[in-house]
């Protein structure tokens, strides 16, 4: 009971095991970024000082602004960033992560802030029954195998055309922009998260409060912007 009163009274609750929130506020947030467009777009090499692109990079910059903090971007592979994060060498990692990430053993994944789905979409006016149809799909993706469950023939391509003239597997936020209609066949879904050091619960709560306040459509717009910038 005393604790409830304490937390309601404005004291920091929960608290960090290592004081991350107090350090980053009006200070510097060390953010690890791994290339995973359109979530994170890392151009240039390691020493590149330019901020990375992508929807999550924009979100991180907004979070930093709200805390009056500067962002120190650290480029790297997901594995090395996660190892650094688990040892508290970084304060945040964005890499298009989702809630099923196996890194959950070593780092803390935030609550998910957006669910995206890979859907089968067709040009407007074409029948939405995909059984027996040829469906364009990005080669090497999990959806190639999933398509066979729907009796459709997967046609793997290196790059999806901007405006496919037949059925194609696209993320839900791209359906309208690609001039397609959702067939209602959803192959997979991902709950998107960011990663913070484990045990820094005040910092984690701050990031989560920021993420939960986000507007889904706003994030989808950022994804679309990043997608177009890359195309």
């Amino acid at each position: 009971m005393a604790l409830v009163v304490l937390s309601a009274g404005g004291c920091q609750w929960p608290r960090d095991a290592d004081g991350t929130l107090d350090r980053v506020r009006d200070g510097t947030i060390r953010v690890g970024v791994a290339h995973d467009p359109p979530w994170v777009v890392v151009a240039g090499d390691r020493g590149d000082e330019r901020p990375p692109g992508g929807a999550e990079s924009v979100l991180v910059q907004r979070l930093a602004d709200s805390l009056g903090a500067r962002v120190q971007w650290v480029r790297g592979g997901e594995a090395e960033l996660m190892t650094a994060l688990s040892e508290r060498g970084l304060d945040l990692v964005v890499a298009g992560l989702d809630a099923k990430s196996l890194w959950v053993r070593d780092v803390a994944l935030t609550t998910d802030y957006l669910t995206t789905e890979e859907v089968v979409a067709v040009p407007a006016g074409t029948p939405t029954d995909i059984a027996g149809q040829r469906v364009l799909v990005r080669e090497g993706s999990a959806e190639v195998a999933l398509l066979s469950d729907h009796d459709a023939t997967a046609v793997p391509v290196a790059d999806l055309p901007e405006r496919p003239d037949g059925a194609a597997v696209v993320p839900d936020w791209l359906v309208d922009a690609a001039g397609l209609t959702d067939t209602g066949t959803h192959l997979s879904s991902l709950d998107h998260v960011m990663a913070v050091p484990p045990g820094e619960n005040a910092w984690q709560s701050t990031v989560e409060r920021f993420l939960l306040a986000l507007d889904d459509d706003e994030v989808r717009r950022l994804l679309l912007d990043a997608h177009r910038a890359g195309a």
């Binding site: 604790l3 937390s7 609750w13 929960p14 608290r15 960090d16 095991a17 290592d18 004081g19 809630a99 959950v104 803390a108 935030t110 609550t111 913070v196 050091p197 484990p198 045990g199 820094e200 619960n201 005040a202 984690q204 709560s205 989560e208 409060r209 939960l212």
Partner: protein, 317 residues
């Protein structure tokens, strides 16, 4: 007249208590099934909650063992099982004791590992009906909710176990105690995590689990000793059972008995054993007297189920 195929029933007042125990065990199973389902649904990803989940699954072992043994214990002896089925209770007791020991060992090893590896538990926010809330609070609420029935069930069973001389029930009461103790330590741990003390959770769990391991070792030792036909001991405080001395005194009180020696073993709820008596030389109607003595000993206590009386010339101790 000796009845060979006699079937054992608890005395009426004990039978009523036993029916209550059976009901309690069904309630326990119902409670843990609900708790296991709720935990699985509410807190899928958290490692700390996974431990609580495993605990609840292990806590199902004693009530299930009790109820299975309950189906067998009263069966009359048959050609294949001339000693009857009373021992099923001893087997259930061993199973419950091992479950308790496993539970303690599991938590102990896991918490030591967590502490050594410096694992810092992350507890973030959760959104409930549009409000963001620290996930620690609902976790504490769930743990408190599981603590209350465990305390109540455990207390009721501990009392019944003593009255019924039922060790399975007693082990189950210990299991419930272990369960609410670990829930309590988890609550303390969550509060400490919220305060930024990441190590306190593991330390609290280590202290509690050490206590459960001690309890489990003691119970397992008793269960094994019972199967080894150790002389009977009391359920709750593990002291020499007074019945042996009482029966010996009863036999020696007979004017025609020169010397007597009794051995007893526990078969679940009941005791069985043999008595050797040295009759005074020239005792009349020896067979009738022996049979009366047997009946007298059997009727001395409700737990005294089966006793074979054998006359001998001399007892060498």
């Amino acid at each position: 007249m000796a009845a060979i195929h006699d079937r054992y029933e608890l005395p009426p007042e004990k039978a009523a208590l036993h029916r209550r125990a059976v009901r309690l065990e069904w309630w326990t199973i119902a409670f843990f099934v609900v708790a296991i389902t709720a935990l699985a649904v509410v807190l899928g990803q958290s490692q700390a909650m996974k431990a609580a989940w495993v605990e609840d699954i292990l806590a199902l072992a004693p009530p299930i063992a009790f109820l299975v043994a309950n189906r067998y214990r009263n069966r009359p002896p048959d050609a294949e099982h001339p000693y009857g089925y009373h021992r099923s209770v001893a087997i259930a007791f061993l199973a419950s004791a091992l479950a308790l020991l496993t539970l303690g060992g599991y938590i102990l090893v896991e918490s030591v590992l967590r502490l050594v590896q410096g694992e810092r538990p992350p507890i973030g926010l959760i959104e409930v009906f549009g409000h963001t809330l620290w996930l620690g609070w609902p976790m504490i609420a769930v743990l408190l909710a599981t603590m209350v029935p465990a305390i109540l069930l455990g207390r009721a069973k501990a009392k019944l176990a003593e009255q019924l001389h039922d060790k399975v029930l007693h082990a189950d009461a210990e299991m419930n105690r272990a369960d609410w103790l670990t829930a309590g330590s988890a609550i303390l741990g969550i509060i400490c995590i919220g305060a930024g003390l990441w190590w306190a959770d593991a330390v609290a769990a280590i202290i509690i689990s050490a206590d459960i391991v001690r309890d489990g070792l003691r119970t397992t030792r008793t269960a094994v000793a019972d199967l080894m036909d150790r002389r009977p001991r009391t359920v709750t405080d593990d002291r020499q059972h007074p019945l042996l001395a009482r029966l010996t005194a009863l036999a020696l009180d007979q004017p025609w008995v020169q010397d007597a020696w009794i051995r007893l073993r526990e078969e679940g709820h009941v005791f069985v054993g043999e008595v050797l008596v040295v009759p005074e030389p020239g005792t009349d109607d020896l067979v009738e007297r022996l049979e009366r003595l047997g009946r007298l000993l059997r009727e001395a206590d409700w737990r005294m189920h089966d006793i074979a009386v054998a006359p001998v010339l001399d007892i060498r101790r």
